[in-house]
């Protein structure tokens, strides 16, 4: 053992023999308003001005209410009305607040008081009295004496919360496999968002982008947004020679028309910033960038999976239809996505 090691003992680093001295209260500083009547007069005037500003604020609020009447259908009129009333009322309240605080700080008594901390424990006498009351209540109710009542009451209290636990367990819908399916079915026509007009393959010229919803979605009454949030698709036509298609998915497109899920695989923002020449699809939320010409693989940003592709075909009338649902879940990944 070296000398240095010997000179230190393990354990507390604080030396309880020499505690830090109580610094006490700072010396009292007498305010200028206490020293000179002139300063007190000035402070008095300042406070009066602040209260006066408050009155002006209230008048501005009243003026704003009448000068900018709310006109039905004119949102700008509502804005002016709210703006001037709000500014006036804020000025009015701040005027009172600043005046009151300034008054207390400059002119009200400036005594500094220190209060000692007392023990939290009650006196022995009070404690004995409390114990007496408990014993009396026990004796009169027979809580200790009548075992049957006591135990049956414990039982009732233990069973009472169980229905609540069962109700809580049943809150909310069971997700089931809804994360893995969308509205797309074999033969569902691709239609324009928001009108629901079906799209012909010949309508989609090179460089075009269509924002697509499945047929029937625009007429839905219930759960429309839930379905749209899963089924939204971006339809793009690129020069077929620019497309680097996976041979296994070559029949998922039609003459350079490809359809990809519009829901980002990072956290589900709509990815729709399509660049015609680079074929990059940019997500505006976190800058994930997908290469549409290359199976929508991620070329930049936090997304971890390519956008799922919707296999499309053309029906007898020339309209674009889905061959099937997406073959993998759309949107953000979740823990049992591969199951």
């Amino acid at each position: 053992m070296s000398d240095i090691e010997k000179s230190y003992s393990p354990g507390l680093a604080t030396d309880i023999e020499k505690p830090i001295a109580n610094p006490g209260i700072e010396p009292h500083r007498i305010r200028m308003t206490d020293k000179s009547e002139k300063h007190a007069r000035t402070a008095e005037k300042q406070i009066a001005v602040m209260f006066g500003v408050s009155v002006v604020g209230a008048i501005i609020a009243i003026w704003g209410f009448f000068a900018f009447p709310i006109v039905d259908g004119d949102l700008a009129a509502t804005r002016n009305n709210s703006l001037w009333m709000g500014l006036g009322m804020a000025l009015s309240m701040f005027g009172i607040g600043f005046g009151a605080v300034h008054w207390a700080k400059t002119l009200m008594p400036d005594n500094e008081v220190s209060e000692m901390r007392h023990q939290a424990r009650s006196s022995d006498e009070t404690r004995a009295q409390a114990l007496e009351i408990v014993k009396l209540a026990d004796g009169e109710s027979g809580f200790s004496r009548r075992k049957l009542i006591r135990r049956s009451m414990y039982g009732a209290l233990a069973f009472f919360p169980i229905p609540a636990i069962i109700i809580f367990g049943d809150l909310g819908p069971v997700v089931g496999d809804t994360l893995k399916h969308t509205m797309w079915k074999p033969g569902t026509r691709l239609t324009k968002d928001p009108t629901g007009i079906p799209i012909k393959a010949s309508d989609v010229t090179i460089g075009s982008v269509f924002h697509v919803i499945p047929e029937g979605l625009s007429e839905m009454e219930e759960h429309k947004l839930e379905e749209k949030a899963k089924a939204a698709v971006l339809l793009v036509r690129v020069n077929p020679s620019d497309l680097n298609e996976d041979p296994a998915k070559a029949d998922w497109s039609y003459q350079g028309i490809v359809a990809y899920s519009k829901i980002c695989t990072h956290v589900g923002c709509p990815v729709a910033l399509y660049e015609q020449h680079t074929h990059h699809l940019l997500c505006p939320c976190h800058q994930s960038t997908f290469d549409l010409a290359n199976h929508c693989e991620v070329v930049f940003g936090p997304a971890s999976r390519p956008l799922p592709q919707l296999p499309i075909a053309v029906d007898a009338e020339g309209y674009l239809i889905a061959q099937s649902d997406f073959l993998e879940p759309v949107g953000p990944s979740f823990w049992d996505i591969r199951k």
Binding site: T78, R79, K105, S202, Q276, T278
Partner: protein
């Protein structure tokens, strides 16, 4: 190599299908646009003097410039009319700059390029007056345009230095032409996707938001939550901190 007997038939069949399909694809954007022969000739001279070094002497494209065959009069009117063409310098994106030709010269070049092959025409005045349905236009704008150009057309960033420009101050004619031709990295919105009436409604919406003040007061550039958050943090919280310091300070 031995040819299979059905190969020739297949080639003919494919050729017919592709040319027919191509024709069908082209027909829904083509509008008639014919300038007078004198105008086309005037345009050809201007084209040879100002455009041919990049786009080829017959507009067939060359090193540095794409082919202009089939881009239509609308494309020329937009590109030259906003000063993007003749292009200057190289970079991720050509920017709008002071226009270098008179409208007469631009129309002549547009007529010449339109004479090369059919393409989108300069839009009719009836779609540009901004007297359509602003509500419908707003909905279409939010679905088709807002992801790049921002919900009120304030513009926004794209990848690698490219950007979607702000739409304030852009003339209705250029807005329409941009939709129908898809300049630079902007996609095309042909008449099957957004009908001329739809485009008119979008122009009406843009005119409406340009002519009317923001109903919510300060716009802060309309560039979204970052600017607004920064403003609130600096001025709102700064004000609250200043008051707190004043409350806690002793009077002197």
């Amino acid at each position: 190599m031995r040819r299979r007997p059905w190969a020739a038939g297949l080639v003919v069949f494919l050729g017919l299908v592709l040319s027919g399909g191509g024709y069908a694809a082209a027909t829904n954007v083509v509008q008639a646009e014919t300038g007078s022969p004198a105008q086309v000739e005037e345009g050809r001279k201007l084209f040879l003097a100002n455009c041919a070094s990049c786009h080829g002497t017959n507009g067939e494209g060359a090193i540095g410039g794409p082919s202009l065959i089939g881009v239509g009069a609308a494309s020329v009117d937009f590109q030259v009319g906003t000063g993007r063409m003749p292009g200057q310098g190289s970079g991720p994106q050509l920017r709008a700059k002071p226009v270098q030709f008179t409208q007469e010269q631009i129309s002549a070049m547009a007529a010449y390029v339109a004479s090369l092959a059919p393409g989108p025409a300069i839009p009719d005045e009836e779609y540009l007056r901004g007297d359509g349905d602003a509500t419908h236009g707003g909905e279409l704008f939010r679905i088709n345009c807002a992801m790049c150009h921002n919900a009120v057309g304030a513009g926004g960033a794209l990848t690698e230095g490219k950007f979607a420009p702000a739409l304030g101050g852009v003339t209705p004619k250029h807005t329409y032409e941009a939709m129908v031709t898809g300049p630079q990295n902007m996609p095309v919105f042909n008449d099957a996707n957004l009908t001329p009436e739809d485009k008119k409604d979008i122009i009406t919406y843009l005119k409406y938001i340009e002519d009317n003040d923001s109903v919510a007061g300060f716009e802060l550039g309309s560039i979204g939550p970052v600017a607004e958050g920064l403003f609130t943090w600096i001025f709102g919280l700064g004000f609250i901190i200043a008051i707190t310091v004043w409350l806690g300070a002793k009077s002197n």
